[in-house]
Symmetry: C2
DNA sequence: ACTTTAAAACCGACCATTCGGTATTTATAC
DNA sequence: GTATAAATACCGAATGGTCGGTTTTAAAGT
């Protein structure tokens, strides 16, 4: 019972922090949404900040800390296909969250990202590091794709990498603004595909 | 004195709402930052919501509601050059705001965007309309560029438009996360240029 | 196996502080 | 003197958190 209660509160908090800013989500929101009492909440977590920190360390990092080593290094196309596949898994994960189903509000990953960076400089550093890792992974696969003759362009590897990364972020933003989840995967695949079309031999 | 005071409070509020979420910015933050009293604030604005609404209707819209008709329709390259030029003007505008100079905190346009959309469904509709307008403008210029033989690709106009738009948004996000303002213009130009390189004849 | 004791889980009223806003007074401009 | 602008003390509600109490579960004792 204990593990379930703590986990349930955490999941509830995660969903709320994905929908509204940290400050906009009140303790009463969390308590009411979880169906438990404030006393029960404080049995498991020391404070609002602590549950937020935990949400970031668990759920948020699950969405953010992508293991690029697991993506194919055979080709650029398979690399981004694996990334889209990963995105699909994440979407599935979010959709099966119990609390998500009850709520009509959109998930806003970037809202949680801003809050995390604002509330903790350590987290900010960590997030920036992950972005650096992302850039490195893309630059690498693009170099490989060039060497293999998969793609052909005079553009620098890093500049191409930027295109792929920023297109992904921009599309992610667009999906949030339009409260779209399902069609997002197909769109992401199409966007990467468009860029790929411009690059391939 | 009256117009200056009201405008000064509004500008102060704008800066604060660009740095933190609506709820995280308290009335006392606004009052202290403006150097005026609460009573003075309430002389001009009915409530916190009203000043936020005004901030969105003025400053935010100035940054968001871009008149694409003013951008060159001679070529894709001049179109996006005009957009970058516009971005430069906006950056300059933000940098000359009095309150901005005092504060070390990063401006986060997207935070204000999220708050605006969350707090007002009317604004949300309006913002989505502006995005549609943006898409239309890009699609149009890309069609023109194709007709003129400036660019050559089998990709649909709208798909190319998406690439340009999302790259811009993603890069904007990246600049916010890295608290970068100055270099952002050059980067944006380079990103558009990279895409253009992939497309031009 | 049952009973007693201890610990954990949970509750909800209450607390101190903060919040957005109000009422009244004072200051300034004309 | 009047109208506008501004200040300050105060208000009631909301906020994150505390605390004494109750219920449930686990462990120890017989």
């Amino acid at each position: 019972m204990a593990t379930d209660s703590r986990e349930y509160i955490l999941e509830t908090a995660f969903v709320l922090f994905m929908q509204r800013s940290f400050k906009a989500v009140t303790m009463n929101d969390i308590v009411k949404s979880s169906g438990m009492s404030k006393g029960a909440f404080y049995h498991y977590f020391k404070s609002k900040e602590e549950v937020f920190q935990e949400v970031v360390n668990t759920y948020f990092m699950k969405l953010t800390d992508i293991d690029y080593a697991k993506c194919s290094h055979e080709s650029l196309k398979s690399f981004y296909s694996d990334l889209v596949s990963n995105l699909q898994n994440q979407t599935g994960f979010l959709q099966q969250l119990r609390k998500a189903k009850e709520s009509g509000e959109a998930f806003n990953y970037f809202q949680l990202l801003f809050d995390a960076m604002y509330l903790s400089p350590v987290l900010k550093t960590r997030i920036l590091e992950m972005q650096t890792k992302e850039m490195k992974a893309w630059t690498e696969i693009i170099g490989i794709a060039k060497k293999k003759g998969e793609i052909k362009t005079d553009l620098a590897d890093k500049d191409i990498a930027k295109l792929f990364i920023y297109v992904n972020d921009g599309a992610g933003m667009n999906n949030i603004l339009r409260n779209r989840v399902g069609g997002a995967i197909r769109d992401m695949m199409a966007l990467y595909g468009s860029l790929y079309e411009l690059l391939k031999v």
